[in-house]
Amino acid sequence: MKQMMKIDKNIENSKGYEISLAEDERQDLVQDKFGKLVAINLDQGLSELSPKAKLRLEQSRELAISKKKPEKAFAWASRMKLAGQGGSSSNSQGKWLRGASLIAPMIALTIGLLAISQWQQDARIDDIAEVDTALLSDEVPPDAYADNGFWVFLKNLTAEESQQNSDSESSLTK
């Protein structure tokens, strides 16, 4: 019995809560409707502005547009647009130029990288050519460097030279 009463009370509470929720929603709806009606009336009042105010607002707008923040990425493209088309272009042309202004730096970067690698390759070829020229223009024929006997001769020659040098140094000290 006690439990039944408790359940009844809960149902009553929940009904009260639902009613208050519904009331809140209704109030919100009324308020929204009222707010929108006020807004409609205020909008209608905008056409009643004085000519002085209308003119001043127009001038202010033009001034603001003239001071617009320049587009960093597209400044180059817009300059090209102005130079090439005398400042008049359709929307699609503008979009095309914007796209081009994004792609152009990437193309320039690729060309730059290719040029650097080409230059490095040329420098390496020049170095090899320099060594070749030195070998070919030397008194010793290039084949001699491939001969083992010549290498032994060079080794002995350098050993003898160093021996002679050390002898002369010791005689001087004596």
Binding site: F34, N41, D43, G45, S60, K68, K69, E71
Partner: protein
């Protein structure tokens, strides 16, 4: 990012509303025009590269800040003016209240034209909106005239969403009561 054309269109659509809102706050047409011009220039210079859909909220915020700046400047100026006027009181006995605008005391309901009635209704409505407390007026106009949602309004006003709801509700009740008192129904 907004093109010059898009920015111009946006300003064209918003400038009159912004001007009216500033008038509600400062009650001086010339000052309101200056404030709106400042706001337009600031929007264009600082946020001209933002997408069009971000402009309404940015512009509303800038207009609010410019209005606050104007009030701050006025406060400083008035301090100095009152300081100097206290020295000159004996020479110039004019009452500052003489310069204050008195509300129109036109009789209502005499105009036969529907247009005039409408204009009168708008005039009354604007006057009643002017009378609302600052925060209530801001919240109400942002929500219903600029059609910003509760979150956006709360962000611009720097308060909670609950506060926005309360401000709007009180503003609507005050307006409805004032209009009812004058025998006007929307």
């Amino acid at each position: 990012m907004a093109s010059d054309r898009e920015l111009s269109d946006f300003l064209k659509a918003s400038e009159k509303r912004a001007f009216k809102q500033v008038i509600f706050a400062v009650r001086d047409e010339d000052a309101a025009l200056d404030i709106v011009q400042d706001a337009m220039i600031k929007l264009s210079q600082s946020y001209g590269d933002k997408p069009v859909e971000e402009l309404p909220m940015l512009f509303t915020r800038i207009v609010q800040n410019c209005t606050k700046d104007w009030f701050r400047r006025q406060k400083v100026r008035n301090t100095w003016v009152s300081l100097f006027s206290s020295f000159k009181k004996s020479e110039d006995e004019s009452d500052p209240e003489e310069y204050l605008e008195t509300p129109d005391t036109q009789s209502f309901g005499q105009e036969s034209s529907k247009q005039l009635e409408k204009a009168e209704l708008i005039n009354i409505l604007e006057k009643e909106i002017e009378k609302l407390p600052k925060r209530q007026r801001e919240a109400f106009l942002m929500r219903y005239w600029e059609e910003l949602n509760i979150t956006e309004t709360a962000e611009i006003m720097g308060c909670s969403e609950g506060s926005v709801k309360t401000h709007c509700s009180r503003a609507a009740q005050s307006l409805a009561a004032a209009l009812k008192k004058l025998g006007i129904g929307l």
